[in-house]
């Protein structure tokens, strides 16, 4: 058994002990149709510990400088999926992005995710995103009588779809996809990830139906394998791989 680590450097401690506050500039894309149809970029300067999250910075701005700044958030540690946004041009969760990791020497740009209608500041209309999710039958379908106890599933069969069960429906993947930007009809990566989660679940009996849905002209074949989605996923899901597996299942009808 490893002995406790008195002699080791406590990394977190070293970091917290000498908190060097820095001055950072956040350049935020503002939009409020109640006031104006124009979009404008607004700079906010604040003094902040670079080990804090971008979400902390947004809160600091809202609470201390401009109460009208509007964004969604809830859990603040990357599990609820509320605060996907484009930070320095890349889709991330504001609560999972530390300021020190995104070069605070230059202005940090923050804008709403792309491809969904902006309603106010960083808030977008999520309804089309959830509609695509609902369209892939995102629930277990089984036939025949239910067993008295649980359905059995081997650890290997369970592992087969483990990766895609991690999805938090934050839309970081879908709104990073160039195909989705150009054509809002495309199901988008998140819906396909959630279809994958059931297609490859050994207990499910509606794989064929889901594959037919995704065989549609707005389905998986629109994917151009740019890997933006995989890069964007804050849960580390291999999104592009999942889409490829669905494509392969459509060709081989084996899953």
């Amino acid at each position: 058994m490893a002995t406790p680590t008195l002699d080791k450097t406590d990394k977190a401690e070293a970091g917290f002990a000498d908190t060097p506050y820095i001055t950072a500039t956040f350049r935020i894309r503002r939009f409020n149709p109640e006031i104006s149809d124009e979009v404008q970029w607004q700079d906010f300067q604040l003094s902040i510990d670079p080990k804090e999250r971008v979400l902390d910075a947004l809160h600091k701005i809202k609470w201390e400088q401009d109460g009208t700044l509007t964004f969604r958030r809830s859990c603040a540690h990357g599990i609820c999926g509320s605060d996907a946004m484009r930070i320095n041009g890349k889709n991330r969760l504001a609560c999972k992005t530390l300021i020190k990791d995104i070069n605070p020497e230059k202005p940090i740009t923050v804008e709403a995710i792309k491809g969904l209608t902006v309603l106010k500041d960083l808030v977008v209309d999520m309804d089309p995103f959830f509609q695509a999710y609902r369209d892939v039958m995102p629930f277990l379908v089984t036939k025949g009588n239910e067993p008295t106890r649980e359905r059995l599933q081997s650890p290997e069969d369970r592992e087969r779809f483990d990766d895609t069960t991690k999805c938090i429906l934050c839309a970081a993947c879908t709104s990073s996809c160039p195909v989705f930007w150009n054509d809002g009809q495309y199901f988008g990566p998140a819906a396909i990830v959630n279809a994958h989660r059931f297609i490859f679940d050994s207990r499910d009996e509606a794989g064929e139906q889901r594959l037919e849905i995704l065989n549609d002209r707005d389905g998986v074949w629109r994917c151009r394998t740019t890997f933006n989605c995989t890069d964007a996923c804050p849960r580390g899901i291999e999104v592009t791989k999942a889409i490829q597996e669905v494509k392969r299942a459509l060709i081989t009808r084996r899953f």
């Binding site: 058994m1 490893a2 002995t3 406790p4 680590t5 008195l6 080791k8 406590d10 990394k11 977190a12 401690e13 970091g15 149709p33 109640e34 006031i35 809202k62 609470w63 201390e64 109460g67 009208t68 509007t70 964004f71 969604r72 958030r73 809830s74 859990c75 603040a76 540690h77 990357g78 599990i79 609820c80 999926g81 509320s82 530390l98 309603l119 500041d121 959830f130 999710y133 609902r134 995102p138 629930f139 277990l140 089984t142 239910e146 106890r149 649980e150 359905r151 059995l152 081997s154 650890p155 369970r158 779809f161 069960t165 991690k166 938090i168 429906l169 679940d201 207990r203 499910d204 580390g236």
Partner: protein
């Protein structure tokens, strides 16, 4: 203003709300009003597991589970309710599996189970493997599975609708629920929902603490709405501090980490829980572990330059086990602390986690207007409610269980009530209170800011009513809260618009937190004993003679408009377990 009519209205779309919705939608025309998109709810942050005596990996039974729950709650648990919880746990887990929940599996393909704090074999002999889990994201999988089944059942959601008022009407001397009033975030419009049944499933109130595992949105909205309408709140002084929050941030690191073999150590590397809980050690109940951590810190054995935390040590566990069983929490340590849990221990401190108290209900989920009278048509389930299955301290994995068992029960009961009863007539001008509240905040030119008051509240609560309390600290909190409530009348906001006005809603939420903090501190001051999560240094022992009873707090408004809190007490339901000294 719009008026809607539904048989059943559910407030909140976390685990309890969606479990209720799956039942009530099958039986009645149901609307779910939720301030967040359903999948954003904080059920999703639960990690370690859901308890049920499936006995899939070792001998277990629901009677042992009942006993552990009652002992864990330091005998403030209503024993009839705990028995229902433990008995129905088995079907609750099997139901979720059939709905598609991807549980971890044993080599034989059954649902796998792990150890968790306070869950024991044969009344405390040794830890037992009772927690059904899915990695360290069990809550996430429950929330997703329930949402998936809501999609399947065609549940009707009103997303980003904040319920701000509960309509209570007195008919022939009986308080009845007529519906709720909600504020639509997207438009600023006010909606009245007339309903035969209303179920509150709006979650906890942890945001009155600073270091907390709770989401920003957990502001006790449901509790406050009912309390302001004269309904009681039960056992609000009992709040759980989870032993292992990330140091200073409060982000939860599951007890499952200790269930998998993780060990708590002080600055000398000592496994200090052996001193405090010789049998269960690191898997003693959460109140015991949190107090032990702070005892170590107070006696100078805390870690770091300020000696203000201890370590959760996982370094002796194989990296493969951490990757397979604890992938999320190890990633939290890497993301937020820059720590590699394979090789370095993680700095932790207790974090405000769970409200044992809440809106009092019976085992059908019916809300109580006093010790015995139900409010016809009004239900509550999950953290917002107090059944009471958690008593003075909840066991880990019993909350994911609670939301499923009592969410289901209240969904069925509410829909059946709606089928047999007619609408209660709405009061005159039903949206008045909410309209006034919203307009006052929007038009206020006061000088107080929401952020300032909230920060002062949170710092006051952390300093005075956390793990250790005394008459003096609680009184300090009571006085400070009174001051903050007075200053709140002078609060103003910057965003005067109607569209997505989160500035306004944060002000409303602060009002809720202040009301509930006052109830909590007042209830804590009157409870001159130590029991479960409520520890009084000036009264360090449990006092079953005077205090084996639930606190019931009522808001009273005098003729001249002054508000006060009246405390009453309700007996604990005891069936087969007589109180014993609690040892782990």
């Amino acid at each position: 203003m719009q008026i809607h009519k539904y048989d059943t209205v559910i407030v909140g779309a976390g685990g309890a709300g969606m479990r209720a919705a799956i039942e009530s939608t099958k039986r009645s025309r149901t609307a779910v009003l939720t301030k967040l998109y359903p999948t954003r709810s904080h059920t999703g942050a639960a990690q370690g597991g859901m308890a049920a005596a499936l006995a899939n990996v070792e001998e277990d039974n629901w009677e042992w589970h009942t006993f552990d729950t009652i002992k864990g709650g330091d005998y403030l648990v209503d024993q009839d309710a705990a028995e229902i919880l433990a008995k129905e746990a088995i079907d609750a887990v099997l139901d979720l599996e059939k709905m598609g929940l991807p549980f971890g599996r044993t080599p034989e393909g059954k649902i796998d189970q792990r150890r968790f704090g306070g869950h024991s074999r044969n009344h405390g002999e040794a830890p037992v493997r009772r927690a059904c889990y899915s990695g360290d994201r069990t809550g996430h999988m429950i929330l997703q599975t329930l949402y998936q089944n809501c999609v399947k059942e065609g549940v009707e959601f009103f997303n980003e609708f904040y319920v701000l008022d509960q309509l209570v009407v007195e008919v022939d001397g009986v308080k009845k629920s007529a519906g709720v009033v909600a504020y639509e975030l997207a438009t600023g419009e006010i909606h009245v929902f007339q309903a035969k049944s209303v179920i509150y499933a709006s979650g906890g109130t942890g945001k009155f603490f600073k270091v907390t595992s709770n989401a920003h949105t957990l502001t006790g909205d449901g509790q406050a709405a009912c309390y302001r309408r004269g309904l009681p709140l039960e056992d609000m002084e009992f709040f759980q501090f989870h032993p292992t929050g990330i140091w200073r941030m409060g982000i939860l690191l599951t007890e499952g980490a200790r269930g998998e073999g993780g060990i708590l150590r002080n600055k000398d590397g000592e496994r200090f829980m052996e001193k405090y809980a010789p049998v269960m050690k690191d898997l003693a109940s959460r109140d015991v572990v949190s107090r032990s951590i702070y005892t170590e810190i107070r006696e100078g054995r805390g870690c770091g330059p300020e000696g203000d935390h201890v370590y959760l040590d996982l370094t002796h566990l194989p990296p493969e086990q951490l990757d397979a069983k604890l992938p999320d929490i190890t990633e939290f340590a890497r993301t937020y602390l820059g720590i590699e849990p394979y090789t370095d221990p993680i700095p932790i401190q207790p974090t405000a986690h769970y409200a044992m108290g809440g809106i009092p209900t019976n085992v059908e989920g019916e809300v109580l207007a006093d010790n015995t009278t139900v409010v016809p048509g009004l239900y509550a389930a999950g953290e917002v409610a107090c059944v009471s299955v958690h008593g003075a301290n909840r066991l880990g994995t019993n909350s994911l269980l609670d939301i499923n068992v009592f969410g289901r029960r209240s969904g069925i009961a509410a829909a059946e009530y709606a089928a047999k009863n007619d609408f209660v007539e709405l009061p005159e001008d039903p949206a008045r209170l909410v309209q006034d509240q919203v307009e006052r905040l929007r038009n206020s030119t006061g000088t107080e800011r929401v952020h300032t008051l909230r920060t002062e509240l949170q710092e006051c609560m952390d300093a005075n009513v956390m793990v250790f309390r005394t008459e003096q600290t609680i009184k300090t909190a009571v006085d400070k809260i009174a001051e903050l409530r007075a200053r709140y009348l002078d609060v103003s906001i910057q965003d005067k618009g109607k569209r997505f006005n989160t500035d306004l809603l944060e002000a409303v939420e602060l009002g809720n937190l202040l009301d509930l903090a006052e109830v909590m501190a007042t209830s804590a001051l009157a409870r001159k004993e130590s029991r479960g999560g409520h520890y009084r240094e000036d009264f360090p022992n449990r006092d079953d003679v005077n205090f084996m009873r639930h606190t019931m707090a009522y808001r009273e408004v005098a003729d001249d408009g002054t508000e006060s809190i009246r405390l009453d007490y309700k007996p604990v339901v005891t069936t087969r377990y007589q109180p014993m000294e609690r040892k782990y």
